[in-house]
Symmetry: C2
Subunit: 275 residues, 2 copies
């Protein structure tokens, strides 16, 4: 289906969850008993999806883990994407971005060859590297704003004479290119102190929030200043869910971990009177 913010908000209320499950399905980390199957990566994802699809509103395959396997990885990705229920938002975590005619090719990859609802994009090359992705109706660009990793300090906090930081400029400028129904930002959970300012700069955009769990962020912290009137958050957990067990019980343990996060989100949604 073609998503917009209102539709995402409805899904969040229906599932009492703003969880995104990251399918960083590293072949070297999936349970050993799957490796004898014809397509271990797809079988792993299928089991994870079956175990979590009522608890999350989005799935985010990290393209690196598919691409690194060559053609077979892309085939696993295609089957995974087809298996995800149509009412769950899909994110190609690809962090692409190039000059115009090349970005258009990347957009075709993730919006036509593979029918994702959205793709993550790096902003360094500016407007004409992002615009081609915005020419696809009903599809979202998720632009890197303030990322969750340590290296986010290197350039994203670079500051002009007025005190404006690079990631703040990215948030401001990108809003001139699109409206919130086609544009989200990646804002890492590891910077809870920055959420208030960032939300004031981009009040109506959804934020894709990595960094909860393994990287140290919490649902409570990011929700405190991150929520807007349509919730406006998709909080991602990848390894903390999908690799919580490496045994035959991996799917049921993944469900438990997803359920823990969903319960925390439900609590927030009730406290903040969305439900």
């Amino acid at each position: 289906m073609a998503f917009n913010n209102q539709l995402l908000f409805k899904q969040i209320l229906a599932k009492r969850s703003y969880l995104c499950v990251g399918l960083d399905s590293d072949i070297s980390r999936i349970p050993k008993h799957l490796l004898t199957l014809e397509d271990p990566i797809f079988e792993f994802n299928k089991a994870i999806i079956d175990a979590t699809k009522d608890l999350c509103v989005a799935y985010k395959p990290n393209i690196a883990f598919y691409e690194s396997l060559g053609a077979s990885g892309w085939e696993s990705l295609r089957k995974t994407l087809e298996y995800i229920p149509d009412d769950i938002f899909t994110i190609a975590d690809a962090k692409r971005g190039d000059i115009g005619n090349t970005s258009l090719q990347y957009a075709k990859t993730f919006f036509e060859t593979y029918e994702f609802d959205s793709v993550t994009i790096a902003p360094y090359m500016g407007e004409d590297s992002v615009k081609p992705f915005l020419s696809f109706e009903g599809k979202y660009v998720i632009l890197l704003g303030l990322t969750s990793n340590k290296g986010s300090d290197d350039f994203q906090h670079f500051c002009d004479i007025s005190g404006k930081k690079l990631h703040e400029l990215v948030l401001e400028r990108a809003q001139e290119w699109s409206d919130p129904d086609q544009l989200m930002f990646v804002i890492g959970a590891t910077h809870p102190e920055a959420f208030e300012k960032i939300r004031s700069i981009a009040p109506h955009n959804f934020f894709l929030v990595p960094g909860v769990g393994a990287q140290g962020g919490t649902i409570e912290d990011v929700s405190r200043y991150g929520l807007n009137k349509e919730v406006g958050l998709l909080v991602n957990s990848s390894r903390g869910i999908i690799f919580a067990s490496s045994g035959e019980d991996f799917a049921s343990v993944a469900r438990e971990k997803a359920k823990e996060l969903q319960s925390q989100m439900e609590k927030v949604l009730i406290e903040r009177e969305y439900l």
Copy 2:
């Protein structure tokens, strides 16, 4: 072979050329008579390589044009890479970059699954997004510095209180992560006025220079301030060579266009007394 700057310099002198041919092999633009063949993209690349391999020191497939075709595009890429002579430097123009464990997967894609000599990387996510690529001996990271597109003005010229620009900070900081035998920068030919300053910041690194031809830059302009003692430039042309003719003579016309650029480079190499 495992390249280093000295080896690249030797190739440049031997071929009297610092030309990189960009294999942006867009299926919608390759000559129609190839489309009936089993693998049109590979057949196109093969003919271009045969026609230009004595005139250039590097080939740069732009990954977007392969990836957008799904699994078959990756297969065309693999065959192309195998066909490129071993003494010609190969660049995966992929503009990747992600958190550490993900960047490592991307590095495996382009350095192991496909055996490129180098890959282009976007710097936005900082040190830990770049470092995994540097852990592969004999392989280069080519980091975006100042790109050739119009959007390079949006963020790359963002300026701190001392007047330092974002792309200058990227050039400075990245040199702390690696030595010039593993690190190049993308510097667009459309900014000839910036080359003198950029060369002073990164005196020993090779620059991959897009933007000559279709985008308006010239060999003369970029060579004026861009050369260093090992030449230090790989000047790329893609569409201006490979799509110069869309007829059955595409390969011979591509050769003519490559030869024109190589002759200009030879003239510069003689004038500047490298030859």
